[in-house]
Amino acid sequence: MSAHISASPFDPWQAIASHQQDSALANKFGATATFIGSMRDFNDNADVSKMVLEHYPEMTQHFLNKLEQQAIQRWDLLDCLIIHRVGEINPADPIVLIACWSAHRRATLDACNWLIEELKHNAPFWKKETRQDGERWVAENTNGL
């Protein structure tokens, strides 16, 4: 189990593969579900050329750790990995990675669903987009979009 806040770009598939390789659970998990959120070059009807993600370092890390513990307990996961970018982000960069391992498929998919909604609605991160007409704080995350 681990939750990282990353100030530099990461390769999500490589991160999952390497986390999984270090795990002793290879023969025990029957299911892995993952979710990756990436930066689009378009939001809310405007082109976005860059983004800066601010966070509250101590609270954000504490929040991610708690989220993982809750997901593992509630869905009886074998393992869970969260990585979230901060700092300057470019189009196509992965922003968030969630991966859940369990004996059974329903647990992994439900936990992934829950974790991304918690991250979107409660984790202390804030996005500022750079558009043609300047910089702009994103006001609020949408429900499920």
Partner: protein, 75 residues
Amino acid sequence: MSIQVKFFASLREQIGISDTEIESAATAGHAWDMATQNAARPTNTLVAINLEYAQFEDKINDGDEVAFFPPVTGG
């Protein structure tokens, strides 16, 4: 002892402070008033005390860290 007060994102820019210290405060709402010199508080402002979400009526103790920020937009 004292209370550390932090502001993040758009609130940090509006208030013009990222980090400050106040002597004491009865509640989180009181800490806002002292740190901002009674600036109007946007209705959707969130507050955390010692890294946990809290309410503006919650009591503040010496040594606490109080943070104010707008709705989160991570993920």
